[in-house]
Point group: D3
Chain length 229, copies 6
């Protein structure tokens, strides 16, 4: 059953690069609020932001053997996405594996478990989003899968999907929806710029978004503090 899928299709580089002006929150909104990993996935340092292609790796609890296997499947521009088959916060990944991934041009790691050597990872500028920081080591005894679809921190990730990760968290975009999401995200962005200026100048969101009438319809009342009963 354990399998490594090789030569996965990846989105065109220009498509990936086009996401660089976008952040996680905007992309998440643009694709209808799906694909967000759980908020316990935090970057080991801030600020940081990466956009790349998912190589997926499913590991046994307390066992990082398959990460070594996954490294070989990674290429420049990839982001390694690791999930254990059951809850585990061990430190699956440290500076040696980071050296190996950096040598291949991998941009960072997203792992629903623990990471270690975070001082060195910070120094060498290799970003990681993880559930925990832990020095607890792992063994190399049990097989898993590379480049099969997996659930990572509550989100379904297919190999070749786009991963956007920044200080707010991590979102996954399905490869075949990426172009459409990009378009929607860009139009949100354009829209936001105008809103930002208005709000900075003191225009109220109540007016900018024309909310007053609907609030009244729903029954919102305004009462002076001094006139409460």
């Amino acid at each position: 059953m354990p399998v490594v899928i090789t030569e996965i299709p990846r989105p065109p580089e220009t498509l990936v690069q086009a996401f660089e002006e976008l952040d996680v929150a905007t992309v998440h909104e643009a694709q209808g609020r799906k694909g967000l990993l759980a908020s316990y996935m935090r970057p080991i340092y801030r600020p940081t932001k990466i956009i790349g292609t998912a190589v997926t790796c499913q590991v046994a609890p307390g066992d990082n053997w398959m990460i070594h296997v996954a490294v070989e499947q990674c290429q420049a521009g990839d982001i390694l996405v690791v999930a254990p088959t059951s809850l585990c916060e061990d430190g699956y990944f440290g500076d040696l594996l980071a050296n190996s991934l950096q040598a291949r041009g991998v941009l960072g790691l997203v792992i629903d478990a623990g990471v270690r050597d975070v001082a060195t990872l910070t120094e060498i500028n290799f970003p990681v989003w993880s559930k925990a920081i832990s020095a607890q080591g792992t063994v190399k005894e049990t097989l898993g899968n590379v480049n099969t679809p997996l659930v990572c921190a509550g989100a379904l990730v297919h190999p070749g999907d786009l991963i956007i990760a920044d200080d707010d968290g991590v979102v996954v975009v399905r490869q075949d929806e990426a172009t459409q999401v990009l378009e929607k995200a860009r139009s949100r962005l354009a829209n936001e710029e105008y809103k930002r200026q208005q709000l900075q100048e003191g225009v109220l969101g109540l007016d900018l978004y024309k909310m007053r009438e609907r609030l009244t319809e729903k029954g919102l009342k305004y009462v002076k503090y001094s006139e409460q009963n």
Copy 2:
């Protein structure tokens, strides 16, 4: 039932400013160890410290509509305090709302839920104390209340109360107790300065606080390691 209370009374500016030399721990002690929000409320960047007047906002889970309503009730020197009616870690608040609040002179946000765009919030120096960081967006469908008393992270907050927030957490001071708390906190502070000097010079707390006799009364024994049985 949903209501916005307007024109809430606020403490005099000079009173608020007088708290600037104080920190959360000192104020919390000075008022008899009450009014502290739960320790899961963490600042999105450090160091940071703000002191201001509470505008309160109660929201539905996954719905930030009332925050837009609350903005209009805020003025310079205020701190917005938001609590959902049930457990929620969604990202209720991002950079656009921060722009809007900053345009009005609001000092920061305290929210018993999630926040997003933390990279931008850090850049523009808008501090937030929150339960989570999450890119998860919210809807605008359900009414709530502005400037009614609410429980935020385990502490009762009335509109117009003083909020002190720093790297240790957040404490609320009742508006009508603020003068008295200020006095007590100042006397603690004066007292602490002397203690600090003594301790820095190597005087033991056991002697400075005259603890030895009471420890003996309570039955504390000293035994040499080599003479344990």
Copy 3:
């Protein structure tokens, strides 16, 4: 029953210093993956790293009296290790106690509870590994023990044991095993340097660690994406 053990034996200074080139993850591996404190023990600032001798202090929930007692038992090069007798996240320790410990040359604090005044502790460069940051104060009513063995964050700590704490967490080394652990850790380190170079040059771990054959034996299959059924 409450007792303070005095004049505990400490490891020779040269032995402690010899650990300075090592980090938590390496030491933990070198001693057979034992002695690691739970991963919820996080430093209040990063980067940071200390190595020293444990003085242990067992406290009641919400009561820091025994920390004042423990200070007197500390000397230069020590690390204070504090554990409550039941779950508690109060802020047992703040800047005054830090001043007192720094005056004695103590290197830092490891506490399975909360800490406060973290802005000041960061400024004065006094590192703390804790379960929580909380302004919640404590009382001084109940005795406990100093320099008896205790369980801190899931690890057994004896007074005089070595503590290594860095950005990854905290590990304890039994005093009588320190020399042996040091040796093993050094040999790991030497070994790692070579591996690091190889990996940085792009050699795969699969080859460096000769994993391919064993992976095949265990049944790992490689399948092209385009050839999956």
Copy 4:
């Protein structure tokens, strides 16, 4: 500062009895979804249900002294509501205190902390809603308050308020709102009975609540599985 408020006003017995046909969920809805304690408050045995008047008791972490003080303030039909000033899961309460409360006609305990002797409490039919079950004992050293307003598991409770607790959790009703809440709850109940019959007969909620039109307006689409693109 520590104080015991005596002779608190209680709602009339007939009013309390009138709530007996109601459950927590119905009352919570009827009062506009406020006053619910956090869902981690669980009964030690099920099924169980009590309705009574709150006597409040604020305790220090790990210290149950004030519960002994509170017992004297309790009378038949009361429910004791206990909250610590900071997070604590110790076993503040056991069979002896339950004997004492039962001797006074107290109906049960709601405690935002731990409880012990749950086998005996179950046998003698004394219900407790708590955050934890723990054999960890407490001390008797620090004062607190009896019958002052407090926040228990996220809800504000005043002495004399109504407490309804059942298998779903615990809700508090303000004494001065009890009559009004009762009325609304009764009308909900009447309403529910009809709905229940309809639903049991197979009428769909979509039709019973006339939801179809609004769903369509909001944009809900129906697509056959076989006709998805």
Copy 5:
């Protein structure tokens, strides 16, 4: 974007019935340890066990509108599987919805959120596996999806998949893998019966599973207590 998929294909009834002799742990093992929902999903009463076909329902936080929509898509033998788009523990589901589902022959509910009216649900024998029990109500404002694939408590569920739920938890079996999983599970079961007898008679697992040699190879040592150094 919100959509209800109708007329989903379901596995043949005889296939579903064939799973009745199996439990969650056996099925999970038989399909290679995948498809298990997180262990925080607990039944509201025990013992209980159901096997059926998944109808999936994705809801907004604090909003149960789509559950009413999903009811219509359910038929006899189905199990409703509900997941919110972000963390929420509100009581989405109570006795009225249970009446409605029971009227259609639905076997139970699996919900990655809260449930209420658990006393009644227990009485009417409608089993629920949930993350929380909470009386907190929900609104009906925001659309979601019915019968689209979703991630529930960390597991990917497609409409029409088999759900097996018992006292140990919940597992999902892909519809197109069900026959194969059934076979493997049955052979495990047969195998287990023999092992059970042997173990009950006192045969050691070490011998039954022939582990001794491999343990020795791996380096396990046996030392008498009295002969430890």
Copy 6:
């Protein structure tokens, strides 16, 4: 390094039996409030109570191999105590292992991880105290230790120590302190019986424990509700 210690000394049977009239809370108090396992350790069914001798077993995360090894070291009257080397909630133990232990007269299991087949374990009356219930299986690849001292759920357990486990939780008594603890616990018990009668008759704890004077000394005030300012 992995080792199985055989022929551990056990306390005399009569000593163990003498604890049968005692419960966890009483024993915990009697030994000075130490040795209690964390309150997340809950029995899979209630009521239940066992007293026996600890056989300890340290396992790798997600790997139950050593439990099979430990079985052989167990004899009638033992309780198996299992702790993983890092956080893990997998179902390490099920009905087959329970059959094997029951065949040897083992009384129950205490495991700082998950357990499965709880319906069967309940039927065959084999009690387990665990951190989680989970159907997630484990592998058999990595060695650990049997009958070495370990930390289980925050408490240090040596092989041969006494374990008392009931509905309140689990406490460990050091073998060499058992006689002394027994005596103290018995005297507590005798003492409690008198107190219980007094309290049941309505005598207040305030009087029975003579607390009134000390409360006054500490500064407790009594104020009538109607006379508050």
